[in-house]
């Protein structure tokens, strides 16, 4: 038989522990919630950065500028169909 004062102490202690666990749970929830939001903000910032870089990349991939550079600086010229020959696999084998 548990004595009455001991039972009350045990009861109060259990409740204090439960309250502590509840507070701890809530603290953890807030902590992780904040962490999640921090990462969400980072994701948004990175997405913005990606969008900005994509835009810059496509501004650099301007086909007219590339063509002008290839033509003027690299002295490249477009080729025609007549300049292309299809090599058949058999010919390749024969040469080997």
């Amino acid at each position: 038989m548990i004595k009455k004062p001991s039972f009350i102490s045990f009861f109060i202690a259990v409740h204090i522990i439960l309250i502590f666990l509840q507070v701890h749970k809530h603290t953890l929830f807030i902590k992780h919630n904040y962490t999640q939001q921090m990462y969400e903000k980072k994701i948004n910032a990175l997405q913005d950065k990606k969008q900005q870089l994509t835009q810059e990349l496509y501004a650099l991939k301007d086909r007219e500028a590339i063509k002008k550079f290839a033509h003027d600086t690299l002295q490249m010229r477009p080729y025609t169909l007549r300049q292309i020959t299809k090599l058949s696999l058999n010919n390749h084998d024969t040469k080997l």
């Binding site: 807030i30 919630n33 904040y34 939001q37 913005d48 969008q51 900005q52 994509t54 835009q55 496509y58 501004a59 991939k61 301007d62 086909r63 063509k67 080729y79 025609t80 169909l81 007549r82 292309i84 020959t85 299809k86």
Partner: protein, 544 residues
Amino acid sequence: MTQNFKIRSTIIFLVFTMFYLTIAAYFYTIQITKHAFYTKLAQQQYHVSITQTPARGNIIDRTGNNYLAINKDYVSAFILPSRMQHQAETDEFLQKHFPDAYRRLQSNTHKHFMFVKRRLSKEEQNLILANKYHDICLLTEPGRYYPLSCATPIIGLTNIDNKGLFGLELVYDHLLTGKPTTFHLEKDARSGYYYFKKETTVAGDSGQTIQLTLDANLQFLTQEAVRKTVEKFNAQSGAALIIHPRTGEIFAAVSYPYCDPQNKHTFSLDLCKNKIVTDAYELGSVIKVCAALAALEEEVVTPEELIDCKDTLTTYIDGRKINTVKAHGIIPFTDVIAYSNNIGIAIVAKRIGTKLYDHYKKLGFGSKTGINFPGENVGFVNPPEKWSKQSIISLSYGYEISATLLQLACAFCTMVTGYKITPTYIMHNRYDMPSERLYSEKNISLIKNILERTTLYGTAKRAAIKGYRVMSKTGTANLLVNGHYDTTKNIYTCIGLVEKDGYERVVVTFIKEAEKHNIFAATVAVPLFEEIVEHTLIHDKIIS
């Protein structure tokens, strides 16, 4: 002493009683009387509703590797006129650098919010950031960036509020925009920066990415070829189209000149139009092939039948004058088309009669093609009830009938496949092939032979490419100016099919108003056709 103690005790008791009664009354007021007010106040402090607009969907080409429209944040400047702290400095700054905003501010001094300027340039941003004694603030707004300028007439543009203005941006605005999502947040009271709880009250959709049938590289190569030809002949404009004859997928569609989305000063309504879809012309001799197919289908002629083309440049049929470019005597019907003789085709067209109109309608002239694009021109085919004696003659070689280049391309696809197609700019996983054959396989084969002969020996000789089967037809037509055909203003068209081991592409080229007179499509549109076909074959790695 006892008396004093009693009095003092009573006073203290009364004071405490009053104190507790006041607290109780205050609690009553808070909890009962003003319950709703304080509840609302608390909710406003801790709860907030946020509506988040999703990013607009991108537009990509058929390969999925090239963006044709992407999002870009633009910086705008604003002021709060009713809460200005440095009025004099701000006025001076605006007057000097943004006079238009200054004028607006003078007439709106009590407004809560006013844009100084939207979509600032880098220099304007630096100018505002450098000056610290004014009330001008900056904010970022979503906008669009179009990496391939020559696709602008098709893709379209968005307005300053990022809503589709024309082109595919307008047609698919609902898909690209998505739906905004509304969240309910339980705020952090201290900073207001974080939240405890986030609930979605209205679920939205993110903006969808749209994949087009256009190939960005092919579009650019086609645009370069059209630009070169327009500049070479000092022409007013040019256009070209590459389409799959069975699925209706459009690989490239160029209207030159076009508006540059990065340079708004070049904007004009005319330059923003996708002329392949919006502008209809009387296309001239290129229509002869449609009349030829109608004649074969109606069995009023055979390819070998000899037609007397009178060996003259001008003759009269039913009292109506007909001109042709080169005199031919008695030649087979195949050569009437190959050499594009107006007299010969008019003689055959008279045998078809009013059924020619039915065939033109069957080929899709005078009706929408079914492409989902705003501002499509339906064109016109003169109906038999309005025909004069001249009409059957004119209709046989491409007058009294106007069509867009897309209608012409679709009709040509029907002529070389036998089936009607629906052109599209949007990529689908599967294309439903039409089941109803419009023209017999025999006549399709005959018309393809006639077109091949046109390329090998006729007016489109330069379109021939060794190792490939090219079937084409040219057309040179006078433009109608103030009710009269102006012989100095012409349009030049070439349309053809290139085939190689199951590979098929229909290419249309078009040049309007070349500066030089007395030249024909064989000189203007055919070399352009050949160049575009070469680019296409190399691009698609179809090597013989």
